[in-house]
Amino acid sequence: MAPEVRGDERRLHPFSWLFVLITQLREVAFPLVLLLFFGRGQWWEFLAIVGAVLLALYSLIYSFGFRYRIGTDELVVREGIFDRTERHIPFARIQNIARRSNVLHRAFGVTELRLESGGGLRPEAVMKVLRLADADALVLLLRAQRPSVAPPPGAGDASAPAPSGEPLLALSPGELVRLGLISNRGMVVVAGGFAAFWQFDPGGGKHLFRPAFNLAEVAAGEVVALHAGPLAMVLGGALLLALLFALLRVLSVVLALLVHYGFRLEREGDRLGAGGGLLTHAHGSARIDRLQMLHVEESLLHRLFGRMSLKTDVAGGVREYNDQSGKLHWLAPIATPAQVDGLLARIVVAPPLAALPWRPLHARAWRRRARWPMLFWLLAACGLGFWFGAPGLLALLGVPWAATAARGWAGFTRYAMDERFLAYRSGWWSRHYAVIELDKLQVVELMQSPFDRRAGMAGIRIDSMAADPLGHGIHIPYLPLAEARALFAVLARRAAG
């Protein structure tokens, strides 16, 4: 097919409308279809469908009106039919590049490209969809525009599907199986599915689950009819649970393979690129100086397998946590501690995690940490003891447990600051490390609750770019007041540059 070039303007792939339509249908029509099936069929639903069709038509025309032009040092994107906008995006401003191609994309030999700049809620340009060769050429051009960097090896080979750089990490299927066993994605997906069905079924899920409940009742009846002893019943129940658990883990493994199959992390000059996926290929790249906080996760299962995970917040563009969006997020979905240390050293020239100058919290931090859970278990024991008598007092076991957990937590939780980095690690069984370069701090905060004031403690919290509001950040609690003040002063000075 000859490229559609009018003057020096380029259009999207002729089948772009199909992909835009699919996105529209998925975003707009899918909830409507669910409503139609599960709702009570009212007139406004049909009105909404008409609206959805009109919207889809509009996006169709819109995708035909999309043009882009590659200038000497900028990308010009023209969008719209009735309401035209022309955006000039200097190459230097494009910092994150995300590309995604699912099975349909690959059938047509196309890919979706998203270019993000430093700020704003929306990407600078979403090219849905480009021919693979066009996308590769554009990506190579964007990389070559960076004057500080020598062109990456293999830059001349524009037909390569993923321009290769210095490989930092590649995950084998065996590692992905481990990842699936460690992650609990299967459980999350199943729980999400249940929640969705509950949401859409007007009968509160009763209708939907009626057959399942009936089946369970019949099965229970059969089991009772067997007149099995209590031991057999308990063993059978345990076996059933183990089977369900195993099924969920298998699902997790399948999901890990789907999302991360062939995962590779590469360094291309001053950029970092990562991606993989079995059905949908997602590949994201970002300039290394755009990386913000680095997160290392080490759950109990991670430690059993001798593994960790490493991910990063990347400044700019849309905050999307979907693994399939193509935005750079995972640096290593799974890796050995040595590999994680190696990656930290090669990407941000950080010392190994264990070599950071870790400092403990206040010596009484564990008591503060234990207080509320212990109080909760005491009150629970009172309440349960009142209602159920002596067996209710078993809740008192929660008190030493809370103390043990708090001691364990305070034993691991530490912060570290060296010339370039601020790091915080926390947890007991499940551990989390957060590392950020000092010149990437945005706001520094010192906090004191009434309890802190009484105990002579304070907490330090920092804010950074692109942080996940629900995820782990750096919030160091229970520091001796003088130490917290000193740390606050140093961090403030470093953040001020």
């Binding site: 430093g118 906090m447 942080a467 953040a495």
Partner: protein, 167 residues
């Protein structure tokens, strides 16, 4: 943090930012009505249900008590609140029970905004919103500044070298 600690960070450029006298009035009104509401909502039904007090008194008592408590809280809040403009940023202290000290480096400020409501305009009062590239503290508001102070703060904060994008 004491003043000497604040000086450790950097030398003050325009120093402690004065609070417009009307801001204390605003806080007093706000906290008095909040406390009055918080006390009235549970106490009135209780007093009525158990026939503890005649109805007018059952209303009056929590309202008066709430106003007094709120006014006291506002006094304390105003006494503990301070915003200081330093050479390299802005330091804000606030809170009565939960106290916080917040430092926004000047190099991290993306843009600032001066806001004035109708009453602010009448009183010559303004608030300055400081926007950073952060996430949770993406926007930080300094309320109750006299308008000229707000303008000079904005000028001081904008008087900086062109920073790329704060990353």
């Amino acid at each position: 943090m004491t003043e000497s600690n604040a000086n450790d960070l950097s030398t003050p450029r325009i120093g402690l930012l004065p609070l417009h006298p009307r801001m204390r009035t605003v806080w007093t009104l706000a906290y008095a009505s909040l406390y009055a509401l918080l006390l009235t909502l549970p106490l009135v039904p209780l007093a009525v249900a158990f026939d503890l007090l005649p109805l007018p008194l059952a209303f009056l008592l929590p309202v008066v008590l709430g106003c007094l408590l709120g006014a006291g809280y506002a006094r304390r809040y105003a006494a503990l609140y301070s915003a200081t403009s330093l050479a390299d940023g802005v330091l804000i202290r606030s809170g009565v029970w939960w106290r916080g000290e917040l430092f926004v480096p000047r190099a991290r400020i993306q843009h600032t905004e001066i806001q004035q409501g109708p009453l602010d305009r009448r009183w010559g009062m303004a608030s300055v919103s400081i926007h950073t590239a952060g996430t949770r503290l993406e926007s930080i508001k300094l309320p109750g500044l006299p308008r000229p102070v707000a303008e000079s703060l904005r000028d001081v904060l904008l008087d900086r070298e062109a920073h790329a994008d704060g990353a």
